[in-house]
Amino acid sequence: MHAVFAIPLWQQSLIQATIAMIAAFLVCSLALYYFRRVRLERPPIGTFNARDITILLAIILALPFLYAVLPSWAITCFLVVTFACSLSIGYRQVIRSQTVLWLIIGVLIGANIYEGHRMMGTVLGWQVWWLELDILVIGGAVAVANLYIQGGMRLKHVAYFALALAAYDVFSSLVINVTAVLVEEFVGQPLDPTFGFRFGAVNYGIGIGDLLIYALFAVACYKAYGKAASRVAIVLAVLLGGAAPSLCPLVIELIDFRNDILIPSQLFFAPVAFVAYLWMKRRYGRERTMGEYLASSDNIAPDSASAPAPAREPVSV
């Protein structure tokens, strides 16, 4: 028996595809724009490695269960800290005045919490809430993607990370239905980590985790192999990360027990991204290190990483 929708499935799929493609394109291009122009501070010692991927995966695996046991106010607090940290770290090089930066972050987060409690009675209220949330989600994904890649994460790491997430995504969406429960719980909650919009009675969206992977892949390709590789990455992110999962309900029935359409986006994107990584490695050879990228003409960011000179002082033993 087929489910019956107030809006035809093909129409929903097209709207969802449009939103997902816009999100994928926006996050990839903005992350690249940021990567080319802004240098984040990094710790004195430390570079991303395979063990960090394992730690990230462990955190991602644990999060849904954490969300399940925590009260909503605690989840909101957790999300406030997460968004505030990522935005403050990511944009302190862009907005030099820390007061202004924190004011902007505070207003964005505060407004979203306020709207989530007060303005959800109308479609317009939802739309304002979504727009404001989209800024936070894209801003956060761009910042975190750059934090990781500028911290030494390589295309190889991203490819394996995406593949592992795809397996988890399929398992959590289609086997244990954790994703469905989370989406149901989160929609309309303050700081729902989703990029989306509402048309009529339906919310359309794509999760911040998926967007983060697309941004990571695009930036890692650029860092590793330059412009041509990043173009391939963006096309893959938009078509396989945005369009394909959204349009697949037209072909395959993926309606869950709540009548929601939940597509594990990484199922479409990650395997192809992995193959693309192998192809690029074969075609272009070894990945550039961050140091090699910084020394190349692709880097147009002003040098902000030089260590300050030690303080002078009148001393003698």
Binding site: G46, G152, A307, A309, P310
Partner: protein, 477 residues
Amino acid sequence: MFETGVRQVRFAVGMVSGRRFSTANLASLVNDAVATIAEFGEPGADAQSLLGGPLPDPEERREFANRALRRTARRLAQRSPFYARRFAAADGDPAKIDVAALRAIPVTAKRDLIERPGDFQCTDVERYLSTRTTGTTGKPAEIWLSRYEMDLWAGFGALASVIRDELRTTDIMQVNVSSRAVAATHLAAATCRLTQTGCRLVGVLPPDDALDSLCDGGATVLSTYPSYLAELLNAARRRGLTADDFKLRRITVGGEVLSDRLAEAAGRTFGVARVEDVFSMTEVIPISGRTCSQGHLHIDLTSGHVELLDLVTGEPAAPGALGTVVITPYFPFRECMPVFRYDTRDIARCLPDEALDCELSGIPATSPILGKAGSLLETASGNVITPSKLVKAIESLPTEPWPARYLAEVEEGRLRLTLPEAAISGYGETAAVRHLAEAGVDADLIVVADDQAAQLRHTRSDLHETSFGAAQALIGA
């Protein structure tokens, strides 16, 4: 990156708490630093602060020293028989020792170490490795080291070397120091293992053998004594070698006075911008010092306390005055056979009380080491002649007599300088006397045959080790 963050926190806690460091954590941190350089080409900003310095605020620096001195003194009072007696005799409460009260504790002399080495060994530490001073300035002292100390110093040295770009994974370090300098050679090898650098422990071989190794072996870093550097330089010039024949990017020397003239010539011939003059000493390991581009000696202040004491009064030397360098390595940087207020008898001049503007200005400084206190000479005019002044004056002679061989004595208030014939050959005695006077050494000159040169002044390059290739073949049994 996440694990590295945890390691850095553990490391920082170790620096602040004063408890023994985890050497495994330190080794992993070096590994992380090597990976960081491989990815980024350089460490992140503020990497120097990871090494514990500089402490720019004098008050903060004093408080750090006070805490470290108390910690060290408390342990020595409990674990070191020598210092338990010494603190008791000085009526000093180790818990109340600070920079100001430190002067109540008499300095420790090398003689104490030589006569009663067992009394210096702490009762709670297992001995692992013994090292001796080279003995070029007197009877050698034996120092026992623990396994922890060797791992710790190698770890710290490796971390500093990676962060300061002193050692790279692509480097090969050739070490031309005496194989009897056990701690130095072991540390060089252990440091290179951690930094993933090639290490060639060559010893003080005949210079031609070492040169072959430098040229053909692709060494990029050379560590040796100034006098042996001089021998290498002479051999290289004799063979017509130039900078193109070497791949060196760094030369570090220590243990003796390095003259500007020798440093400049060696830099030119071996193709390095600057010969680095470092300070280190077996008795006060792991304290070390670096010479900045302006010629100041900056001794590390995070692992030990450094004093410059007036040679006569024993009080802190006044600006411009000569003093002896007295060093106290802190616990937990030193644990097996530590010394407290060790009088190195190395002489340095206190810098004028003005702000430094060199690249290491955040670390306190003195002049470079000018020689040993026992080698100072004073003429009737009150002119104090340091070994550094003599070496620099002699090595700047146009005859380029490197390393300087001389005997300096004061007779009837006047300096008498004995030089080998080769030192003035083709230049003339009169011209040499004038040249030396212009360099601040007004002396009567005595010239002896060249075969007596090595007897005039021992240098560390005299600690030659023979090889079958170089030594005369023995015939018969």
